[in-house]
Amino acid sequence: MAEVALRGVSKSYGNVDVIHDVSLDVGQGEFVVFVGPSGCGKSTLMRMIAGLEEVTRGDVLIGGERVNDTAARDRGVAMVFQNYALYPHMSVRDNMAFGLRNIGTPRPEIDSRIAKAAEILQLDRYLDRKPRAMSGGQRQRVAIGRAIVREPKVFLFDEPLSNLDANLRVQMRTEIARLHHRLDATMIYVTHDQTEAMTMADRIVVLRAGVIEQVGAPLDLYERPANMFVAGFLGAPKINFIKGRVAASQGNEILVELAGGTRLSALVRPGTANPGDAVTLGLRPEMLQIALDGPLPGRVEVVEQLGAVQLVYATLADGTTMVAELRDRRPPAVGADVRFALGPGIRHVFDARELSITLPEGDHQ
């Protein structure tokens, strides 16, 4: 049975619809990440689960029970806010104890829960400090600690790491992942950062403009994006989209002709592409290589040397910018004319409505 379930949930502010008919099941102990561009409705969706926002239409279920009319405090969820929302006038200890005191938890019980949370989060030494005397990372930990001590059925995180610097973000990412394993609790996590989504999630929910675009395990979405939006949102550097036209098709295989005359083959679901159809090819940067006899000519514009890999940005015949991720310590010079070859990997094909028509299984060579 799903711990959290959304059934046709919609949300409108006045006559502006921000969430459209969202349905989703989140299992017990699952770590689900809502990801999507800023303003797509991630926070709104999460706040409806928390009970901080009324549901305009549809039902929210927690532990199988409909909670639309249950006050936030009675839903058994805990939330970690982007700006931490720590009580500034209370010590770390009091911040964590506040919720427990409100429900009349006995003193020794409060103390032991705080001690346990402090140990997990390495906050033991800071229990008597005020939030203002702590660093961003420490505050974040306190905010998480405040959620842990409540022992909620569901943890909700709304962009908890976006106020931290890059290093700390990576560190906290692994800490939250570890916490999830340790507590074995249901967690829903909102972020606009696809890296966080890819690295932490059991399942990712990709949102755009209040609509679920796709739900699935990270690698699933990466390898089998349902549409161009999902393909473009996940993965860094971003997937390359190259416009073309179907030149010939035979069974599953089609031949796509790009501007400049280059022809590339790809596998599609039977009957989805006919000769003459406009399609878009999606090629991940890591499947591109430079080869003298490669089929795709381009001119190198920028080279980014990252040490382990090199990102080569090039312009194709039709002016499209393409990026290739190379593992060659000596990349081409800027301005050089090069040819790209396609290594092993999925050649994604999208139809004119931007939906994927790529053949889901079978071997793509």
């Binding site: 919609s10 409108s12 619809d17 459209h20 008919d21 349905s23 299992g27 699952e30 009324e54 549901v55 305009t56 239409r57 009319d69 006050a71 059991d202 399942r203 609509v211 679920i212 675009e213 796709q214 739900v215 699935g216 395990a217 699933d220 979405l221 089998r224 349902a226 549409n227 939906l355």
Partner: protein, 312 residues
């Protein structure tokens, strides 16, 4: 975890149904009522009701001990029209405001410019200029009546030193009003000065630095940068001052008792005297309404000017 991949489902357009009022929401109303109740009670009983009672009284022949001799229509207002003392008092009040408001605004701005900025000395000066506004009107008038006194004051010996004859400012129909204006300036400049200081402090430093790089003179910096940046505050100060100075009462009441020859009798003093000395509360209430309307007009002006400022 099964890798269930679900694709985009387009929303079905259907009429939105209104969510019924939840019990939680009704409880919220009740809470709000509890929070609001104390204020609403005092507000209604001690401000709104008296306002309407005052309007009602102004149409009646009503004396100080609550004696009500009935409805007399607009008779009180008609009497006002032909009461020379009322016109004198109204004139004095407007004259006082007309003298005080510009000078107060100017002095407050000059002082604010002089004491803004870093340093201990300026901080102390700020405190001194503000300090005089925490005294009560009784203390202020006591001090200034003494300062201006022709035989025991502070000004007389200085005048004598330069060979002049001490002058009784408060005893002169010409000079009593300006003397009260000076007293009022000393008393009241703190608040407008602080308003200007707050406003000056919020001008971005970069503006001045850019002007400096442009070799702007101090004078042009003031006219081109400082003044335009604080113009909203100037308007605010002027309107607040108008409304405040129309209510003047304590200073003339205590320093000159309205004299000499009615030259400093103000509206509020006349309302006070009519009601509490002559017992004509109905007549006093009618005058109070006139004053209220006068002040209302200027308050509206403030709201209107404030909105003008927001538009741009």
């Amino acid at each position: 975890m099964t890798a269930a991949t679900q694709t985009r489902v387009l929303p079905v357009a259907e009429p939105r149904t209104k969510v019924p009022q939840s019990p939680a929401k009704r409880r919220d109303w009740l809470t709000a009522l509890l929070f609001l109740a104390p204020f609403l009670v005092v507000y209604l009983v001690l401000l709104v009701y008296p306002l309407f009672l005052g309007i009602w009284i102004s149409f009646r022949d009503w004396d100080l001990m609550g004696g009500d001799y009935g409805w007399i229509g607009t008779l009180n207002y008609q009497d006002l029209w032909s009461d020379p003392v009322f016109w004198r008092a109204a004139g004095n009040t407007l004259k006082f405001a007309a003298m005080t408001v510009p000078s107060m605004t100017l002095v407050a701005l000059l002082l604010a410019l002089a004491v803004q900025g870093p340093g201990r000395i300026r901080a102390v000066c700020r405190s001194i200029f503000f300090l005089s506004s925490v005294f009560s009107v009784t203390v202020v008038t006591l001090v200034w009546a003494m300062v201006l006194s022709p035989d025991r004051g502070l000004i007389a010996p200085v005048v004598q030193f330069f060979g002049g004859t001490p002058f009784n400012f408060l005893g002169s129909p010409t000079w009593a009003m300006p003397a009260i204006v000076v007293t009022t300036l000393w008393w009241g400049v703190g608040l407008p000065m602080a308003l200007f200081l707050a406003s000056l402090g919020s001008i971005p430093k970069e503006l001045y630095e850019a002007a400096e790089l442009d070799h702007a003179s101090r004078w042009s910096v003031f006219w081109r940068i400082t003044l335009p940046s604080i113009r909203h505050t100037v308007v605010l100060v002027v309107v607040l001052q108008i409304v405040a100075q129309l209510q003047i009462f304590g200073q003339p009441f205590l320093m000159t008792q309205g004299g000499p020859a009615n030259s400093t009798r103000t509206l509020v003093q006349y309302i006070y005297e009519t009601s509490f000395r002559d017992w004509l509360v109905g007549y006093g209430a009618a005058m109070a309404m006139v004053l209220f309307v006068l002040m209302m007009i200027f308050s509206m002006l403030q709201l209107w000017l404030g909105r003008q400022g927001d538009d741009q």
